[in-house]
Amino acid sequence: MNTHSVDLSVTIGKLELPYPTFMGSGCYGSGEEFAPFVDLSRIGAVVLKSVTRLPRLGNPTPRLVHTPAGMLNAIGLQNPGIDWYLDHDVKKFAERPCAVVGSVAGFSVDDYAYTVERLAARDEIKAIELNISCPNVAHEGETFACDPRLTANVVRAARATTDKTLIVKLSPNVTDIAGIAREAEAAGADALAVINTVRGMAIDVETWRPRLGNVTGGLSGPAIRPIAVLAVYEVARAVKIPIVGQGGIETVTDALEFFLAGASAVSIGTGNFTDPRIPVRIVDELAEYLARRNCASLRQIVGKANVGFANPYQFEGDEG
């Protein structure tokens, strides 16, 4: 098997991508910001910063804190609102040498439907990610993605407005992510993005104040990778639609964990802050890995984590 003949392409709903790499929403601007550092034609898709119906100034500063093997953020969806966005920003996205996926956030079912409909109508936007899991604008951390019924409602409403690929982004801050995933699938999602950030907090022990202006924030980066791999593994066993796995991916090994757990594609967010060359390095090394393992296509390894070994030894209480 030769590196060049390995097929890395993926199909996510109607979206056909040459590479299985998304750039995480909110981490990659509109792609342009990273163009000096990376060949954008060698990434799968950029997911844009989430946009809302009305303009949002976002959260007060500080909005970022470094934490062990990760970071907390609480941007608060700063964005110009869908009107300005459609008039000023969207046309530039046509220039990107990779697919551009819109991301929509909102505060009511109506918000989502309205914003998705208007954004999806634009040719520059190839697919829509429904961010129902942003922990930084939520009341006590409760988002749409924390409730199966709300998830179903918002996905159904968005689905009704567009035929374009709809990716629903799930929250790890729930008791049963697989249950929420099933609701999203039943309501018409074409794919799932798993996971958004994990809720967290840090306190400055000199000032006694939270280290984020918003008090709480979302944890990302390698620290959350084991949490994300498990979420993908559980969701993959619950649904049939493809999964875009994310959370702390920085190397090809990290990405492979997600593919084996059941992700059809991966997304890199915080990893771009460490080194913008990471996405292309992952694609190169993925081809090498698959060639070495004699896999002609990435699709062959998706979900192939082998969990079929039983406990050879037991005591009475082990059955408990």
Partner: protein, 273 residues
Amino acid sequence: MPTVSPSAVHDVTVIDRRELAPGIVLIGLHAPALARVTRPGHFAMVIPPSGETAATALGIYEAHDERVSLLFFAVGKRTHELATLKIGDPLGVIGPLGNGFTIGDARDVAIVAGGVGIASVLLPAQRALAAGARVRLYYGARTRDLLVERERFAAEGCDVLVATDDGSDGYRGYVTELLAQTHEPPELILACGPSPMLRAVARTAGEMNVPAQLSLEETFACGVGGCWGCVVPLVRDSAQAPSFPPAERQGSDVVYARICKEGPVFWAHELRW
């Protein structure tokens, strides 16, 4: 501050390393491509050699011929790691980034540096001196030992005025008090240092009626304008404001600009903090 920078990821090599004071390190890099395009006030994002999460924002201290240097305080995990770099080690550096200082044809420039702020003001000092300006460096630190590189600035031709919190050298107190006491107001003030110092500079500059450019700091994630994590509020009609719906329409008289992209250098009178 309109400098548009041809930035890139540079694979460079450490050619020099000096500990200027306990915990304050200067690293020289062989980085010809970066040296060529760096302008006063630019910064770089340094990729952690161990793969630690998130690159570190550092001002570019020197840039000439094939050499660039970084001057930093070992305060946390990533700067401590950078402090262990040895001559010959490879390093990934993203830069130059940001919009720097605009010196124009000012004939009398005051530069105010607090602590690690010194790392971002050598290049503008050199630029102003090269243009024939008088340059006074107001340099403050907690204590005498931390006043690193003052001889360097003097050798370049700056008048160096120092202040220490503990009075161990120069004026006892804040460096901005020293600035406020001058009888010869400069034509232009450039400043870099901790937030409280910059606020005092802004106030003093306002009282003196002298324009001031401040190089700001915040925690960065991307450093290139992609995450909106590093913002500062500007007055709504600032020339540096990012493309955004008119703020007044939104019931707010501020607009958040990204320090890494629209800055890090801002006109003091446009900041709303």
